[in-house]
Amino acid sequence: MSKSRSVKIWILVVLLIVVAVFYFSINPATSKYMPRCVFLVVTGFKCPGCGSQRAIHSLLHGNFIDALRYNAFFVAALPVIALYFLNDYTKLLPSKVDEVITHHYTIAVLGVIVVLWWVLRNVFDW
């Protein structure tokens, strides 16, 4: 593993810990000073990420059901993001995995899921 790559990984790990500590100690659902979603404020519609902060807080406190209720897409996306990070920044995964998850069809499916979630959550108020 190259030096710059391991530096990148350590920066990511440290950032992750800082974010985790921050969202564990502050409850975004009740705090006045937590940033609100700009898209929601401006348009009145939810964005794909609305509820992520509350979902992180709930997850860190072990309330998995609450987290799903705040933003199910975010909870589902976490392992996917972790998978892509492992694939991009480490060599732990076999090349077969890389072939599948970076195939342009896979990317297209992800894009469609994001847009579908965006539309449907506003239609059904998820």
Partner: protein, 206 residues
Amino acid sequence: MTRYWINFKGKQSGPHSIDELERMGVDKTAYVWHSGLDDWVKITKVPELNEMLEKMAGGNNYSATSAAIAAPEADEVPELPADEVPDLPPLYEQTGGAMGYAPQQRGYNPQYGATGYPAAQVAAENPKCPPTNLVWAIISTICCCWPLGVLGIIFAYQTKKKYKEGDYLKADKFSEYGAWAIIASIILGLISTPLACSHYIIQGLG
């Protein structure tokens, strides 16, 4: 009179007249290019040069020349099948110049040369896929509340698609666009989020 650029035994030079080429003692293994051609061709594909070669062969000891052509050098320089010629940037055009074109500017010079040919071929045909930045596109879609994140995903798709199709230049371009979409998304998020908060804070105070 047409002037020729030549790639002979791994060395590229030009422009030369036919007479100069004759004096250089080029043989059938050389590749040439002249203004008006889309790409480099084998010297034998250019009628007037082929004629010159035959004339040279007839004037000298024909068997010796043809042996030199057929034997060792032909083995060292595997022929590049036409369908494996990599996609290349358009020709550099020197407007008003006497020569018309400067082939060195195309940046893949010794591709047909006797030395270094296989390495050049591998490099030209299998460059690494430029980063799709997909994971950052997804993260910025979730965290930054701006549709630009989705644009990042679309560019990631285009990058990979163009790379698979062998269009490496476009793949590079889309990779770059994707990176800019993500950066723009993050910057917009960083600027607009505090603004949105101040809206609430002002409401709370008032």
